[in-house]
Symmetry: C2
Subunit: 81 residues, 2 copies
DNA sequence: AATTTATATACTCTTCATCGTATAATGTCA
DNA sequence: TGACATTATACGATGAAGAGTATATAAATT
């Protein structure tokens, strides 16, 4: 389903992918989220560690939510089968 | 599954619930996440808008991850049936 | 009730995210 | 190639997050 976010790089990838998928420009996302185009660029390139509120607003502009999920250390646990 | 985080209050609830479930004190979580006990308190009470990095570290201390999820505006869509 | 333990609040200081703005770099297309 | 659109980078200013530390409540235990 969603993408696990453990660092700025993960976040940047998620944002860029969603934006491209929706065929939007950085300026479009920026305006929707009330931030600068420059900031969207920085976020996508993992160049800044954003504030939670900012992340939430940018993701919302891309029709995404942030969610907590139980941590999974392994991708596949054979004992489950 | 996880809990949608759209504001500080959502985050605070998620953190406190997870901490109680694991039977930990704020100081325990704080040390694991390398933050002050005071900050954990503030987060749980939604009294501060944290930085993403901080949120990730605190959630990790509680065996949780942050994830992006497609936004669902409605809980139940009758046209799906 | 008194003592210990846990949580909440307070205050100054430092660091850093974001702004506004401008411009450089890169990409796109006629 | 040239014009236009998009993205990346720069820089000073500002505001807010988090630290350290201390203390005030509140909760629990004896």
């Amino acid at each position: 389903m969603g993408k696990i976010i453990r660092n700025n790089k993960d976040l940047g990838e998620a944002i860029r992918l969603a934006r491209k998928t929706m065929d939007l420009r950085q300026i479009d996302v920026a305006q929707k989220a009330s931030v600068r185009q420059a900031l969207v660029s920085e976020l996508e390139n993992g160049a800044t560690t954003a504030k939670l509120g900012t992340v939430i607003r940018v993701l919302a502009a891309l029709d995404m939510d942030l969610s907590t999920v139980p941590r999974r250390k392994v991708k596949f646990d054979p004992t489950e089968y």
